[in-house]
C-alpha cells in the first residue's frame, strides 16, 4: 500500500505539471483583460503602465515559469518562514493577485475558514442525513419513505442552488425575518450569543448545500444498499439467525459503504472549491466567491493558483479514495 501510494504520488507530479500548463494556457488564450474593470476614463498610457506593473509585458512562457517557481518554491518557503519564523523566502517573489496587489495565498488562507465552515459543514450534514436516508430507502424500497426520499432528492439535485437559495432568503429572511440574508464574515464566536448568531446565519446556506449534497449521496447510498441487499451473503446472514439490525448494519451497510465512501472522498475537493453560487447568493465570500470574482477581474495569478490547488486536491483525493477502497475492501490489494 505504501509503495503504491508513493508510486501514485510520483505519477501525480507530471500530471499536475501538465494540468498547471493547461490551466495557464487556457487562461492565456481566454479573452479578457485584467484592467477591464477599470473605468473608461483611465487613459491608455496609464493602462499600459499598469499592465507593465502587473508583469503583463513579459512573454507568456516567462510568466508561466515564474508562476511555477513562485508556486513550488517561493510559496512553500514562505509557509516554512511563517511557521518557523525563518526568512528563506523573498516576499517580493510570491504570487501576487492582480486585483488585490497582495499575495494570493494569504487571501486564500483568509478565505479558507469561511468556506470550510459553511461548505464543509454542509457537506458533513449532507453525508450525515444522506446515509440513513439511503439505507432506509433501500431497505424499504418503494415504500412511501423511499418515494418521498426519491422525490426530495430529485428536487434537491435538479433545482439549482441559486433558486433554492433565493427562495429561502425570500421566505425566511425577507418575510419571516428568522435568518439574516447576508452572511457576516466578521462575526467571531466568543460566547453563547455570538455562537447562536453564527448558527443562525449558517442555517440557510448550509441547508441549501446540504440538500444538494444529500440528494446526491443518498442516491448513491440507496443504489449501493440495493446492490448488496440482494447478495447471497445477506441471505446467509439471515440464515445464521442474525437479527435484522445486525444483517443491515453489519453486513449490508459495511459493504455498501465502500463505493459511497469513495464518492464522498472524491467530493471533498469540491468543498475547497467552495460552492460558487451558494457563496454568492448568501454573500459567504469564501473560496468560491474568490474564484468567481478573480475570474471576472481577470486576476490570472489568483485564478491560476486557485484552480491549480483544486486540481491538486482532486488528484490527492482520487488517491485517497483509491487507498480507502483498498483499506475497506479486502478483495482489493495494491501490491
Amino acid at each position: 500500500m505504501l509503495t503504491y501510494s508513493i508510486r501514485r504520488l510520483l505519477i501525480a507530479i507530471p500530471t499536475l505539471l501538465f494540468i498547471s500548463l493547461v490551466i495557464f494556457l487556457i487562461l492565456e488564450m481566454a479573452p479578457g483583460d485584467p484592467l477591464a474593470d477599470q473605468p473608461l476614463t483611465v487613459p491608455p498610457e496609464v493602462r499600459e503602465k499598469m499592465r507593465a506593473a502587473l508583469g503583463l509585458d513579459q512573454p507568456a512562457w516567462v510568466r508561466y515559469l515564474l508562476w511555477l517557481k513562485q508556486f513550488f518554491w517561493t510559496e512553500p518557503l514562505h509557509l516554512v518562514d511563517s511557521l518557523l519564523g525563518t526568512g528563506f523566502a523573498d516576499p517580493a517573489g510570491r504570487i501576487v493577485s492582480w486585483q488585490f496587489r497582495a499575495p494570493a495565498m494569504d487571501i486564500i488562507w483568509q478565505r479558507l475558514p469561511q468556506t470550510l465552515q459553511v461548505v464543509g459543514l454542509a457537506y458533513l450534514v449532507g453525508v450525515i442525513i444522506a446515509v440513513p436516508i439511503g439505507i432506509i430507502s433501500a431497505y424499504r424500497q418503494y415504500s412511501w419513505f423511499d418515494n418521498i426520499g426519491t422525490f426530495v432528492s430529485m428536487v434537491g439535485f435538479s433545482v439549482p442552488t441559486f433558486f433554492t437559495g433565493v427562495v429561502l432568503i425570500i421566505v425566511f429572511a425577507v418575510n419571516l425575518h428568522w435568518f439574516p440574508s447576508i452572511y457576516d464574515t466578521t462575526l467571531k464566536v466568543t460566547d453563547w450569543e455570538s455562537f447562536l448568531k453564527q448558527a443562525r446565519q449558517m442555517v440557510m446556506p448550509v441547508t441549501v448545500l446540504a440538500l444538494f449534497n444529500a440528494s446526491q449521496i443518498s442516491r448513491f447510498m440507496r443504489a449501493s444498499m440495493l446492490d448488496n441487499l440482494q447478495q447471497d451473503y445477506v441471505r446467509t446472514a439471515r440464515a445464521k439467525g442474525m437479527g435484522e439490525k445486525v444483517v443491515v448494519l453489519r453486513h449490508v451497510l459495511r459493504n455498501s459503504l465502500i463505493p459511497v465512501v469513495t464518492v464522498i472522498a472524491l467530493g471533498i475537493p469540491t468543498i475547497f472549491g467552495g460552492a460558487i453560487i451558494t457563496e454568492q447568493v448568501f454573500k459567504v465570500n469564501g473560496l468560491g466567491q474568490l474564484l468567481i470574482t478573480a475570474i471576472y477581474a481577470n486576476d490570472l495569478p489568483m485564478v491560476q493558483t486557485l484552480t491549480f490547488i483544486f486540481a491538486a486536491l482532486t488528484v490527492l483525493f482520487n488517491l485517497i479514495a483509491d487507498v480507502l477502497y483498498g483499506v475497506l475492501d479486502p478483495r482489493i490489494r495494491y501490491d
Binding site: D232, R235, A239, V246
Partner: protein, 352 residues
C-alpha cells in the same frame, strides 16, 4: 411402512406450503398478479435422512428450500420443525430456532460476506446464539475448520483468497457452527468444478454420518441426487409431482414428467447410452405467473388426457411410500394408472 422400519421421527413437516411473489405494474406499482413459485407443496423429512429435491431451473425448488427456513415469509401453509410451527412465527421469534436449521448456498463466493474473515464468518453465529468465551469460540472455529478440511492457518483470510471448493467448505463450516439438525443444501455443488463436486458431496455425507444431520438436498443434478439422497421429490412449476424412495423413483418413475426427466440423464456405459431412449418434451415451461388450468404439466405431457386440462390432480400416496400428482394414478382411473405404471416400468426396463 410401519413394519418395514422402526418409527422414524418426522423432523420437518411441510403442509400445503405456498409462496407467491406479487407482480406489480404501472405508475403506482399496483399488484396485478402472482408468481406462484411454490404452490401447495407438502412433504415430510425424517430425522437423519436426505431428501433430494430435483427439478428444472425455475421450478421453485430453491424458493421452497428458502421458505422452509423462513428466509421468505410464506403466503400460506404450514412448516413444522421438530413439531414447532414456524410458517407464521415472527422473525424475532424464529431466532432461537435458527440454530437448528441451517443452509448451504449455491454460490460460495456470493454467499460469504467479502469484508469478513473466515473466522468471523464461522464465528458470527456463535456470537449471536451462544455465550461462549473468546477462546472457546476460537476453539470451536478451529474444530469446524478441521471438520470441513480447512487449514486452521487460513482463519484470518478473506473469502476471495480461497478457491471455490474451499469457499464451499467455509460455507458448510459456517452452517454447522451451531450444531444444526436440519440443513438445506441449496445446489451446494452447482457452482463447483466437477472434480470438486464429489469432494464436497462426500464431505456432506461424512458430516451427516458423524453428526446425524438431516438434509434437504436441492439440485438439478439427478445423478448426484441419486448418490446422496434417501428419498427424492421432483418439482415442476411450483408443485411436487412425485415423491418416492430413491431407488423406486430412479428405477420406476411414475409421473410422466419424472420419466422425461430421468430419460435425459446420460448413461456412463456407452453401450447403454446408445440404447437410451430420450423422452423429448415439447414446448416451454409455462410461466409460473400464469400456470395452465388443470394439471401444471398438461401443456407438455406426452400422456395428457382431457381431465388433465380441467382438474388439478391431487398429490397422494399411490403406493406405500410413493406419492404422485397425476390423473393416471387417480382412484377413478385406477386401471389406466396401472397400465401407465406398467408401461412406464416397461420403458425403463427397455432403457436398462
Amino acid at each position: 411402512m410401519l413394519d418395514t422400519a422402526p418409527v422414524r421421527r418426522k423432523l420437518v413437516e411441510v403442509q400445503g406450503l405456498r409462496m407467491y411473489f406479487p407482480i406489480t405494474a404501472g405508475l403506482l406499482r399496483r399488484k396485478v398478479g402472482d408468481v406462484k413459485a411454490v404452490d401447495n407443496v407438502s412433504f415430510d423429512i425424517y430425522e437423519g435422512e436426505t431428501l433430494g429435491l430435483v427439478g428444472e431451473s425455475g421450478c421453485g425448488k430453491s424458493t421452497c428450500g428458502r421458505v422452509i427456513l423462513r428466509l421468505y415469509d410464506p403466503t400460506g401453509g404450514s412448516i413444522r420443525i421438530e413439531g414447532r410451527e414456524i410458517a407464521d412465527a415472527a422473525q424475532s421469534d424464529l431466532r432461537d430456532i435458527r440454530p437448528t436449521m441451517q443452509m448451504v448456498f449455491q454460490d460460495p463466493q456470493a454467499s460469504l460476506n467479502p469484508r469478513m474473515t473466515v473466522a468471523a464468518i464461522i464465528g458470527e453465529p456463535l456470537d449471536e446464539h451462544t455465550t461462549l468465551s473468546k477462546a472457546e469460540k476460537l476453539a470451536r472455529i478451529y474444530e469446524l475448520m478441521d471438520a470441513v478440511g480447512l487449514n486452521r492457518n487460513y482463519a484470518n483470510r478473506y473469502p476471495h483468497e480461497f478457491s471455490g471448493g474451499q469457499r464451499q467448505r467455509i460455507g458448510i463450516a459456517r452452517a454447522l457452527a451451531l450444531n444444526p439438525k436440519f440443513v438445506v443444501c441449496d445446489e451446494p455443488i452447482a457452482a463447483l468444478d466437477v472434480s470438486i463436486q464429489a469432494q464436497v458431496v462426500n464431505l456432506l455425507e461424512e458430516l451427516q454420518d458423524r453428526l446425524g444431520l438431516t438434509y434437504l438436498f436441492i439440485s438439478h443434478d439427478l445423478s448426484m441426487v441419486r448418490h446422496i439422497a434417501d428419498r427424492v421429490a421432483v418439482m415442476y412449476l411450483g408443485k411436487i409431482v412425485e415423491l418416492a424412495p430413491r431407488d423406486d423413483l430412479y428405477l420406476r418413475p411414475l409421473h410422466p414428467y419424472t420419466q422425461a426427466l430421468l430419460s435425459a440423464v446420460p448413461e456412463p456405459d456407452p453401450e447403454l447410452e446408445t440404447q437410451r431412449r430420450r423422452i423429448i418434451l415439447k414446448g416451454d415451461v409455462p410461466s409460473p405467473a400464469n400456470p395452465p388450468k388443470g394439471c401444471n404439466f398438461c401443456t407438455r405431457c406426452p400422456k395428457v388426457m382431457d381431465i388433465c386440462r380441467t382438474v388439478d390432480p391431487a398429490f397422494r400416496e399411490v403406493e406405500p411410500g410413493r406419492f404422485t400428482a397425476c390423473h393416471l394414478f387417480s382412484q377413478s382411473n385406477e386401471t389406466a394408472g396401472q397400465t401407465a405404471a406398467a408401461e412406464a416400468r416397461q420403458s425403463i426396463q427397455q432403457g436398462v
